[in-house]
């Protein structure tokens, strides 16, 4: 250890480079280590065997000076190096050079370059050809050597967590900000500095830049709560309908914030694609936008007209309605709830679950005789059924439980308990299920028959809760950090929480993150 950065060559490699160059090295690499073709792979399989003992494992090496394969475990390659004075050999698993005379593996800059090139060529078109691990340059190494204090985000570290001061009824904003700060996809995007601000004319007003700064604040290690006054000012400037000092809805704020972020991602110079969500590839669209398929089936000719609309969140009806305590009749037909009923003030609310709500959401709905639609197949006005299913699943799925009811008679908050899982499979609610079936029927225990059902698995990572009545209340949230640690965020106070706390909370906004994210 302790050699200079950039390589630890040995004189034998230097001599090789000067005399013959690295062509032999390259040839051996491309044929026996990083094979580019099936033919090369077959050749490798057949010829990579120790010439002395016949083993195929045990760290085979290939001599650079002659055609000899020898294993390391039985010292055959070392003996060959000594006896023939062939100093250099090549490890056949990773292409690393072994200098038998020096007795160790050596790393040379030029050799490394060739290695990288060959590896790149061999893995092109496959997923293995992805990111390259970071190797510090000599400058960086120098810096690191002179600054020995280092901070690492371990599983038990507070870095990444920070409280937010309530600026005056802004708990709704704080909760949404906490949820966004702990969205893994967003965090990785901003911490790897991928945002390029296109708001050239008004760079001070870019909400995406402000978000980037927020991430820096959260990961700064600072323990005092952050005052998000600049964020509030920006949001009020760009989303006028939200502005004003009064209590607001967290869900509304979420949608408005996404909208502003989405607009700012595109910058302020190009206005032509303003309302064309399909052509945008900004981070917000990549993370939050899903596609909701709406199928309208004409009852006469059974022709289906399909549209796909983008969505950022799914608002779910809870489906529960007041049930008189003294009567067993359920006022609304067509929903199943399995669960205990809670009796409060003489009115009974049956508890439900998130999957029940989703089933209700994706159920075919008869549109009624007053809403006849002209069918494009049979060209007549017919009654029809409409069904919503998910066509494209977003990376982050946000579910909004409609707890605030505004009917002509009253305004109230529905506090029914809705159970939601930590792991959620959205396969039953996807569009392809509907395409193959005439009626949408799913029994509770039915599993999706497609083999790749892992693709639609989601994990809960943030829950926003509302406590209070429809007129006034307080928002708090639970967020997940470090895989399995949950924290409760109430403005500037962050405390540790358990999974049980989270799952037993009321739930208003539920954020789920896709477990497997595919490459483009």
């Amino acid at each position: 250890m302790g050699t200079r950065a950039g390589g630890s060559s040995c004189p034998h490699v230097v001599a090789l480079k000067e005399s013959r160059g690295l062509d032999t090295f390259r040839i051996i690499l491309s044929n026996f280590v990083y094979c580019r073709s099936p033919r090369a792979r077959r050749l490798k399989a057949q010829s990579c065997i120790c010439h002395d003992c016949g083993t195929t494992a045990d760290r085979l090496h290939c001599c650079l000076d002659c055609v000899y394969f020898g294993c390391y475990g039985n010292q055959h390659i070392q003996e060959h190096a000594k006896s023939h004075r062939h100093h250099l050999a090549l490890d056949l698993s990773y292409g690393v050079l072994l200098c038998g005379t020096c007795g160790d593996y050596v790393y040379d800059e030029d050799v490394n370059k060739v290695l990288h090139e060959e590896k790149y060529r061999a893995t092109q078109g496959t997923h293995a050809n992805g990111t390259v691990a970071w190797q510090p340059s000599s400058n960086e190494l120098n810096l690191l050597q002179h600054n020995p204090k280092r901070r690492k985000i371990t599983h038990n570290s507070t870095i990444g967590l920070r409280g937010l001061i309530n600026l005056g009824n802004t708990c709704f904003m704080n909760c949404i900000v906490q949820a966004l700060m702990h969205t893994p996809f967003l965090r990785d995007f901003f911490l790897s500095d991928k945002h390029e601000c296109l708001m050239i004319q008004s760079q001070n007003h870019c909400l995406v830049c402000e978000m980037s700064r927020l991430f820096q604040e959260f990961y700064s290690g600072c323990r005092s709560p952050h005052v998000p006054f600049k964020l509030l000012h920006l949001v009020w400037t760009h989303a006028r309908h939200l502005a004003g000092y009064e209590q607001q809805d967290a869900h509304e704020f979420f949608i408005a914030a996404l909208d502003v972020l989405h607009r700012h991602c595109k910058g302020d110079t190009d206005h032509t694609n303003h309302h064309n969500p399909h052509h945008c590839n900004c981070i917000i669209d990549q993370v939050f936008t899903g596609g909701l398929q709406s199928d309208v089936t004409c009852q006469a000719c059974l022709g289906v007209s399909t549209t796909v609309d983008p969505f950022w969140d799914i608002s779910l009806d809870l489906g529960t309605h007041l049930v008189q305590a003294d009567s067993q009749d359920i006022l609304t037909a067509g929903f199943l709830t399995a669960g205990a009923s809670a009796i409060t003030n003489g009115i009974s609310y049956t508890s439900t679950s998130l999957t029940d709500c989703l089933k209700r959401f994706t159920r075919p709905e008869h549109l009624g005789s007053s809403a006849k639609i002209k069918c494009s197949h049979c060209h007549s006005y017919q009654e029809s059924t409409k069904q919503l299913t998910m066509k494209k699943l977003p990376v982050v799925a946000c579910f909004h439980l409609k707890r605030f009811e505004h009917s002509t008679k009253f305004r109230r908050k529905i506090s029914t308990f809705v159970s939601f899982p930590v792991e959620l499979d959205l396969t039953p609610f996807m569009a392809h299920r509907r395409n193959g079936l005439d009626t949408f029927s799913i029994s509770p225990g039915e599993m999706c028959p497609t083999p790749a059902s892992n693709e639609n698995r989601y994990s809960l990572f943030a829950v926003v809760n509302h406590r209070g009545s429809i007129d006034s209340g307080h928002y708090t949230c639970f967020i997940r950090q470090h895989r399995d640690q949950w924290f409760r965020c109430e403005d500037d106070i962050i405390t540790k929480a358990t999974v049980a706390d989270v799952v037993n909370s009321e739930g208003y906004l539920l954020f789920y993150h896709k477990q497997l994210v595919e490459y483009e």
């Binding site: 250890m1 390589g7 630890s8 399989a45 494992a57 760290r59 698993s93 690393v96 593996y105 050596v106 790393y107 510090p136 690191l144 020995p148 280092r150 901070r151 690492k152 371990t154 038990n156 570290s157 507070t158 870095i159 967590l161 409280g163 001061i165 600026l167 005056g168 009824n169 290690g221 323990r223 005092s224 709560p225 006054f229 509030l232 000012h233 400037t237 006028r240 309908h241 502005a243 004003g244 000092y245 009064e246 209590q247 607001q248 809805d249 869900h251 608002s315 909004h400 605030f404 009811e405 505004h406 305004r411 509302h466 429809i470 007129d471 640690q485 106070i493 962050i494 405390t495 540790k496």
Partner: protein, 394 residues
Amino acid sequence: MSEYSFDGSEDQESEDCQLVNYAPDVLTELVDDVILGLCFDVHRSCKMGTFFVDDVDPAELKEFEIVDQVGLDIFGQPVSSKKQYECECPNCGRTISANRFAPHLEKCMGMGRNSSRIASKRLQNSGKCESEGDDDDDNDWTYGEKKKKKKSDKKANSPRQSKPSKSSKNGDISSVSSVGSEKSSGGYVNYEAMTIEERKAVLKQICGVISEHTKRMCTRSHRCPQHSDEQRRQVRLYLLGNAASSLLDDDIHVDIDGYEDSPAVSAPSSHHPNLPKRDHLGRFMSAQQVAALAAGLPWEAVSNSPGGSVSSMRVVQQWETMGITTTGPASNSSASASASASASASASASAGASASAGASASAPSKKKKSKKKEGHTHKKSKSKNPVLQQYDLH
């Protein structure tokens, strides 16, 4: 790997058997390969001198450990610590306490109910007719006002559905485009550069009292509860000089309530010409005194100095120090009337109390603080004034 052939004649089961036998070997090779790769990585980093990069300072680790104790948050700080944080308003640059930032910003950006945005807008449109709705926005008392904002872009399930008494807020927001409000936030009046005529025009529309802090005119309406009528008079006299009297004339009118509240005259010249007028003490006034009042002079000034040419500024000041409002301009609101009524009750009561009693009818109690301030300043100079002695009786 030793070779094997896929001969169709071979027994399939024995083939599979053979393959199964090799499975552990395959697995072992794969695992070995992975371990070897890891070893090379570590070896390379050691050789290249980059191995230390991953080291962590144990002291730092300890510092950032999550705390999980009752009564403490994850940073180890007590949950109930009431630390005050401050921030700088991006709009006006003032330092505001963080907990009060949102209401401040609302006013600062001209979005609240009592903000100056509407009045500023009015100033800009001073040539056009104003809509009556603007004044309504300042007033808390109107119920069920016209909802100017379409609710289409608000979700039906938000807890923030407008309540009748607060829908004016939403009306405010929609009735002004963002461009307009941005303009008006900087649209304060530069009174120093204006001519007398311009000042007159402006002062006809707005309260106009110049704030000590910002040196700007208050752009609210004449019924602005934050300022009293004598302040408005003072500023008019200051800005318009002797031309003020004509301005005050135009603005004087009475409402019935005010008249009932105060036995004193609220400049009744326009409405009740034939009824005998009383002053704030309930004494009947002569025609001369009525005229003097109408002209903005206190009747004592008229009676004490028959010449009648008292410097109106000094007189007004005297009145103010006594906590007595004259029949000020635009006294059609209950504020000034009840202010004069309560002034008649006792002069020793601070102007703050009287003004706030009047103000509380039309403004939330948070205005009281500013009133009290004025009261206190008035109190101080009270004792110096010789005119006051006449009122010591009550």
